[in-house]
Point group: C2
Chain length 247, copies 2
DNA sequence: TCTATTTCTCAACATATGTTAGGCTTCGTG
DNA sequence: CACGAAGCCTAACATATGTTGAGAAATAGA
């Protein structure tokens, strides 16, 4: 079971941070059965109401989760980057409560739900790491509630940009002073609870004031501190330092 | 280890729904060490930045979690009712990313973090049940992002009222056509991302139109369907039917 | 390279919700 | 039962954000 599976390595690296894993745990994690699949941009791979019974790991590309109200308004509730193990809920809950869609072309590793559950049962350390992953997800959702509920448009967008900056940096996907953000302004609007027109206004204002520098989908952050301040951003909620020491 | 611990029974009943527990699992769950404490209304028992290393079960009363922006605006991110095992994050994460405060007088059972972790390690079924609990929490947070991000004030408040109605009903704490909601309009505002004044406007409008009937903090729902429709409420996200069959 | 489509930009105007402020009611406490 | 504090209600007015619509720029496909 020690074939080379470079696709899973990034995830393993992250899970190691979550909980202490022994050699058997790591082997079991790398031994997860999976099927690689490449999916084009904009494709739904989970739909609300479905029962997929499989999880998936993003090997490359970006994806997002969203829900649509009865009025047809869309709200993006999270954006995911390579290394994120998403849709663990599908392995554990009976029904999907939201949609998941690719943002860019993605390489995804699909893992059967039963394999996840068996892994959690046989290797409680790994179960704990996955649980912690879910706890951190929940923490990010909480911050999004705050973002959308209590910050004005300007801070809200700045906050989103700060969050991406830090997450991409940690994943080794950001350049020194910026990153490629593969979202349209409409998608940014759906993530912040604003309209595309207003996102445009705010983005241009931030640009004009030198807080960000845009070039197509590239977001440059010439100086972190002023943007951070406008956003009221504090990274505690990302739990980047999370290492659970043994019980 | 079979002393009577009526305080924990409600939680056990809920966890049984989450994952299949054998006799040993249930015994271990009921054997959790805890310390009962009664806390007055409005008291913080977790503060952002702290590291409590203990979880707690609400035996009676209501509590809520919130975060405060740099501008001083408060956003309530969840409200908890008796039977909720809250702050599992404090047992697993290094630092609290939000505040938790009592809404009414509460009887709380505090459980040491180490006991939670040991339980999860020794009884993977229980670990799985707790993980599922966290997954459902996360699902509720997602719905709150949608609520606050994409619904207008009227639907937003109606949605909150519907959510409470169903959750209290399931917990056996609602009367047939309504329930006691121990929140001020200011707190409702903080939960919906509105101002107290506007909450008042909307509440009176819903009342005037016969969608709800208020008497002090009592919320009567004479007819479920119209309110449900105004809210665009669908209970999928609460995962009330959640029963995870064996792997 | 050309064309069709999607995205971005901009402006004029509309409105849901916020702000401020005051009086009224209810509730808790002595 | 009286008092003070907390919560509720109301109104007039302010504004951040939404709406509509249309042209310009970028991107993707042929």
């Amino acid at each position: 079971m020690t074939e080379l599976r470079p696709e899973l390595l990034q995830m393993l690296r992250k899970f190691r941070m979550r909980a202490p894993l022994d050699e058997g745990d790591e082997e079991a994690l790398l031994g997860l059965p999976y099927r690689m699949q490449t999916i084009e941009p904009g494709v739904y791979f989970v739909r609300e109401g479905e029962r997929p019974d499989r999880s998936c790991l993003i090997v490359s590309g970006f994806a997002y989760r969203h829900k649509v109200t009865i009025e047809g308004a869309r709200q993006i509730v999270s954006v995911h980057i390579p290394g994120d193990f998403i849709d663990l809920e599908s392995a554990m809950l009976n029904v999907a409560d939201h949609n998941i869609q690719t943002l860019t072309r993605c390489e995804l590793a699909f893992v059967p739900g039963s394999a996840i559950r068996e892994l959690a049962m046989a290797h409680p350390n790994v179960g704990m790491a996955m649980w912690i992953d879910t706890l951190i997800d929940a923490s990010v959702f909480r911050e999004w509630v705050v973002n959308v509920g209590r910050r004005d448009a300007r801070s809200r967008i700045a906050h989103l940009l700060c969050e991406f900056a830090r997450r991409l940096e940690v994943a080794g996907l950001a350049e020194q002073y910026g990153y490629q953000l593969p979202m349209t302004q409409e998608q940014l609007a759906d993530a912040t609870g604003l309209t595309p027109v207003h996102v445009n206004r705010v983005l241009r204002a931030l640009d004009r004031e030198g807080l960000i520098e845009r070039d197509r989908r590239y977001v440059g952050i010439p100086d972190w501190e002023p943007l951070r301040r406008v956003a009221g951003f504090s990274e505690t909620y990302l739990h980047l330092d999370q290492v659970r020491s043994a019980a």
